[in-house]
């Protein structure tokens, strides 16, 4: 079975109590291999998931989620138009 993170789903439940991803445009900063992204992306309108770790973002990109755009870049390098996302999610990255 190997390493298993948050199989109880506590993280997503906590997020669900404070934010709705439904039909939202999300920028996720520090997506890593998409552990969290994979849990909410199906609800969002679109997700731009960024992380500087090449290996990690390749793993997420390999999932080929239709509404997720993966970029290998850090928080300082992301360049999106003003007022273009509804949620900026710092995923264990602040």
């Amino acid at each position: 079975m190997a390493i298993e993170e948050d199989p109880e789903g506590h993280e997503l439940r906590a997020l669900d109590t404070v934010v709705s991803f439904a039909s939202r445009r999300v920028l996720e900063i520090g997506c890593g291999d998409g552990r969290l992204t994979l849990r909410y992306a199906d609800k969002a309108a679109s997700v731009i998931a960024i992380d500087p770790d090449a290996e990690a973002v390749a793993a997420l990109a390999a999932e080929r989620l239709p509404n997720v755009e993966v970029r290998q870049v850090g928080a300082e390098g992301v360049d999106l138009p003003p007022h273009s996302v509804d949620i900026v999610l710092f995923a264990w990255s602040l």
Partner: protein
Amino acid sequence: MVDALRRALGMLTLDGIVVDVHPTAAASAIEVEAEITGYVEACDAPLRHAAAGAALAAVVGQGLFAIDQAVEFTFYTYGDTIEELRNYVQENWNDARLDDATVSRTRDALRRSRGARPRSRERVVVTTLRRGRA
């Protein structure tokens, strides 16, 4: 960190929100079921977590954001063995390690609790912030 929050503000819609997820400064425990067998030695973790909290406080203090909600939860990471969990923590967490005494106590606890898996327990806080008045 404050710069990253400032940049987020520019990309957000006027009614958009920032969601921050980060561990608290509380020590991460190693457990077998409900029994604590030790703690992760993480040299800089409390400082990094405190810095994240300070960054949030700074942007709130500057009026850029206002805290909307905050909730804490427990995040468990399980391994099949304590050796596997130790390797994972040491390879994936910054400057973190499990000492031999913790590993030994965990092995003993696993022998007493057949079928149980060792786990780390972190306390994590989710904070949402909305655009402030500044």
